[in-house]
């Protein structure tokens, strides 16, 4: 029982750390992408409806979405490399 608890706590920290990085970090990057896209689109996308469009916002949004796609790709690679889930 004590052995198992030790192993589990040790694993829990690793899962929490990886979870925060990928499971909360990637959505945050995605949100940043949405924010940039709204800034880039301007007009009705922002709450202040008279905002001007900014082309740089679109580029930044593209970068954010790229990071997210790479992150998902890494996740898929983990599934394949680990050979399934125990």
């Amino acid at each position: 029982m004590r052995d198992n608890l030790g192993f589990a706590l040790e694993g829990a920290w690793q899962v929490l750390a990886a979870g925060l990085l990928l499971g909360a970090g990637l959505p945050a990057v995605f949100a940043l992408g949405i924010r940039s896209l709204a800034w880039g689109t301007g007009g009705a996308a922002e709450v202040a409806a008279d905002a001007r469009p900014h082309p740089a916002g679109r580029a930044l949004a593209g970068l954010c979405f790229l990071v997210v796609v790479v992150g998902i790709g890494a996740g898929l690679y983990v599934i394949l490399a680990a050979g399934g889930i125990a």
Partner: protein, 405 residues
């Protein structure tokens, strides 16, 4: 047909039935939030999830033959059944597996009927543990492992069940909070649309992981039964037809959609919006993948429920129906013992009658109770047309038991 062949056929049939219930029981884990926010139409969501489960089942290249070793001692470390159980073409072992599977299926159907997401792996393990205690005594159960790694009922079932929902919930809460902070000031009509795409992507990842994770367990059980019966000898591989039939069973179950459970997860816990849905599914996917990478067993149901609750905690001003969450936790706590009691009862029934009659009567009990629960479900059906109705407005089964606040 000999007694041993009959029981083997019944074991395979019941295992595929379990895989099928596993599919529709867990559709909601991946797709409930996407259906609730309207990111995907209900039928499209279950079709996508089913396809990804099918693909995921074939991705599981690691042989899951030792899946029962985590909780019961019916195999040696190579995956071969223990020799004392394989006399008489494995009748003794097959009866334990059959009784365990029946316990798992019945618990899955009952929790589906009352719309509660509960862990299919716990139901399977519970059934097997109960049948093993009945058949071999408590010494047949691997309670704690040997202390060299995370193992046994405590290490592979109980501790992950306590920890994984909390971790998933914390990750989802942080993710939701960040997302709402970052997008504050962007018009909602703009964010809802963008986050729907993020939601579809993250939910797809959860579906894929589910197929890899859960179909494997049934493949391992069927292959164990084949080895016990002397029809297969390679402990390093699963026969192709087993892989194919398990993949199809879980995908079909997923496509059928456990609408009662989808409704509870998508509408019952939290009024969910697209950003929350994306944060919840991203948390589930990350926690499941990270755990699998580190070699920890966990239940996708526990993770998904924790994530959805976390997304409610993380959104400023969101309301979480803790009463429903409490009922779910209660169901989780009794899943293992309840499935175990059914598994044990079925073993005794089968053992008492023995011969041809034992397994046939056990199977008949399963069929009769399954038909009864299906009929009960028709009294208040939940389907793609009403799955998203207001939680308080429609007379769903779950709502009748809810105490009005």
């Amino acid at each position: 047909m000999t007694e041993a062949t009959l029981i083997l056929v019944l074991v395979i049939g019941t295992a595929l039935a379990f895989d099928f219930t596993n599919g529709f029981h867990d559709t909601g884990n991946a797709m409930a939030t996407s259906i609730a926010t309207g990111a995907l139409r209900p039928k499209v969501a279950v079709a996508l999830s089913a396809a990804l489960n099918l693909v995921g089942a074939f991705l599981s290249v690691e042989v899951a033959l030792t899946v029962t070793n985590a909780v019961v001692k019916v195999q040696d470390s190579s995956g071969a059944p223990r020799p004392e159980l394989t006399a008489d073409h494995g009748y003794a072992l097959l009866l334990i597996i059959l009784a365990g599977l029946v316990g798992g299926v019945l618990w899955n159907l009952l929790t589906w009927l009352i719309g509660l997401p509960s862990s299919s792996s716990h139901a399977l393990f519970g059934g097997l543990i109960g049948a093993t205690i009945a058949g071999l005594g408590t010494a047949g159960v691997n309670w704690n492992g040997d202390g060299s790694k995370l193992d046994g009922v405590v290490g592979k079932v109980i501790l992950p069940a306590l920890m994984s929902p909390v971790i998933a919930g914390a990750v989802a809460a942080v993710g939701t909070w960040l997302v709402f902070r970052i997008t504050a000031g962007v018009a909602e009509r703009f964010t809802e649309n963008g986050f729907r795409w993020g939601q579809i992507g993250s939910a797809s990842l959860v579906s894929l992981a589910h197929g890899t994770n859960d179909a494997q367990k049934t493949m391992g059980v069927i292959t164990l039964a084949l080895i016990a019966g002397g029809h297969w000898s390679d402990t390093g591989a699963v026969p192709f037809w087993v892989k194919l039939s398990c993949a199809l069973a879980i995908a079909l179950g997923t496509y059928l959609g456990g609408w009662r459970i989808i409704r509870t997860l998508g509408k019952g816990l939290v009024e969910i919006s697209s950003p929350q849905g994306m944060a919840a599914e991203a948390s589930s996917a990350a926690v499941i993948l990270a755990s699998s990478h580190l070699g920890f067993a966990l239940s996708t149901t526990h993770v998904a429920t924790g994530s959805i609750l976390g997304s409610g905690v993380g959104k400023p001003g969101a309301q979480v129906r803790w009463g429903i969450a409490g009922r779910m936790v209660a169901a989780w706590l009794i899943t293992l013992p309840a499935a175990g009691v059914v598994g044990a009862a079925m073993w005794w029934l089968g053992h008492l009658l023995g011969g041809y009659a034992g397994p046939l009567v056990v199977f008949a009990v399963l069929a009769a109770l399954a038909a009864y629960m299906f009929r009960r479900s028709q009294a208040q059906p939940v389907h793609p047309g009403n799955v998203n109705d207001e939680w308080d407005g429609t007379p769903s089964t779950a709502r009748r038991q809810e105490v009005t606040a």
